[in-house]
């Protein structure tokens, strides 16, 4: 589990959090495909930034990205995922208490999550940047150093592959 805030961050760290946290979450999500773990990575990175007393950091964004990714790698290595409570399974505690629509939606959410995790990282990356960050093809292209047309092709290919994976898992669209 990542460190949770035990003390107030500095104004600078707070400001950086407001401007960078969402994007960092998206990039961590690409890596782990787990919304809570990605959020933990964001918290961990900013907490370490706040507590950091060494040499001044020139590129804080790159530093945060590196710290978060390293933390995710370590977390995966420790295999703590199995010990985490999986929100998507909570509805199974008492299925009878949940309306069928909610159960169905939760199941679909879980299936999409698994399908995303089965994609190649570069396919997942463009999907996350488009649908989680709502970035345009121009903006994604600038970030990935490719043309907008190439971004559109990658998005189309990633969606097609996602559909194939969902189909293979028996998820159908009605």
């Amino acid at each position: 589990m990542a460190k949770r805030r035990t003390s107030a961050w500095s104004a600078e760290v707070e400001s950086l959090y407001r401007s960078q946290a969402r994007e960092l979450w998206a990039l961590f999500y690409v890596q782990c495909c787990d919304r809570e773990r990605a959020l933990d990575a964001v918290q961990e990175a900013f907490t370490r930034l706040h507590e950091q007393n060494g040499e001044p950091i020139r590129d804080k964004r790159a530093w945060l990205l590196k710290v978060g990714r390293n933390w995710l790698r370590d977390a995966a290595r420790r295999k703590k995922v199995a010990a985490r409570s999986v929100e998507s399974l909570d509805y199974l505690a008492d299925p009878a208490a949940q309306p069928p629509a909610i159960l169905e939606q939760a199941e679909l959410q879980s299936q999409v999550r698994v399908a995303l995790s089965r994609l190649r990282p570069e396919d997942r990356e463009v999907l996350v940047l488009r649908y989680a960050m709502d970035w345009s093809s121009n903006r994604i292209g600038t970030a990935l150093d490719v043309s907008p047309a190439a971004v559109d092709m990658r998005l189309s290919r990633a969606r097609r592959r996602l559909a194939e994976i969902l189909g293979n898992r028996g998820v159908d669209n009605e």
């Binding site: 959090y17 407001r18 401007s19 960078q20 946290a21 969402r22 994007e23 979450w25 998206a26 990039l27 999500y29 690409v30 890596q31 919304r35 809570e36 959020l39 020139r58 590129d59 964004r61 790159a62 530093w63 990205l65 590196k66 990714r69 169905e104 199941e107 679909l108 959410q109 299936q111 999409v112 999550r113 990282p121 570069e122 990356e125 999907l127 996350v128 488009r130 649908y131 989680a132 960050m133 709502d134 970035w135 903006r139 600038t142 970030a143 990935l144 150093d145 189309s156 969606r159 097609r160 996602l162 559909a163 194939e164 189909g167 293979n168 028996g170 998820v171 159908d172 669209n173 009605e174």
Partner: protein, 164 residues
């Protein structure tokens, strides 16, 4: 919308598009700052794809600030160097007071000039600028700069006291 049933996917591209929009609407934690609170990057920093390093562009501002400090220091030194007499308004005798006072004033002005511009009596000091490549430790790159080209003439000192 879905049934868990083995078979080929019936999701069209549009269906997947709608599915993903809805998925991430619920997937992105509500505790994160909203998209509108993020810095309005007209030109977002370049990402590496998963596993690549952060953007070098982000380091550039700090590097250029450091380089500017170096350039500023060097330029301030250049300013303090003797200026060619021709650049001064009115040439060597810039002061209107000196012109009014005639020869005495002129001598005084020359004396003043000689203190500030020791080579003035022997002719104008040329100030040439030359391009040099300077290593910027912040960015690790060679940067072209204009620096004054100084020529220092060294004259041997005769310590022979035999004439005394």
């Amino acid at each position: 919308m879905s049934k868990t049933r083995r078979g080929r996917s019936t999701f069209s591209d549009g269906d997947v598009d709608s599915l993903l929009r809805k998925f991430f609407r619920d997937e992105v934690p509500a505790s994160l700052p909203a998209a509108g609170e993020t810095a309005a990057h007209a030109d977002p920093p370049r990402l590496a794809a998963v596993g690549r390093a952060g953007s070098a562009r982000d380091r550039r501002p700090a590097g250029w600030i450091g380089l500017s400090a170096v350039a500023g220091s060097l330029l301030s030194i250049a300013v303090l160097l003797p200026q060619p007499a021709a650049e001064r308004p009115g040439g060597r005798f810039a002061s209107s007071t000196e012109r009014e006072d005639g020869e005495a004033g002129r001598a005084a002005q020359l004396a003043d000039d000689s203190e500030d511009h020791p080579d003035t009596l022997n002719g104008p000091v040329e100030q040439r600028m030359r391009k040099v490549m300077v290593f910027d430790p912040e960015t690790g790159e060679q940067v072209e700069m204009l620096l004054p080209e100084l020529e220092i003439e060294i004259f041997p000192i005769d310590d022979d006291d035999s004439d005394e």
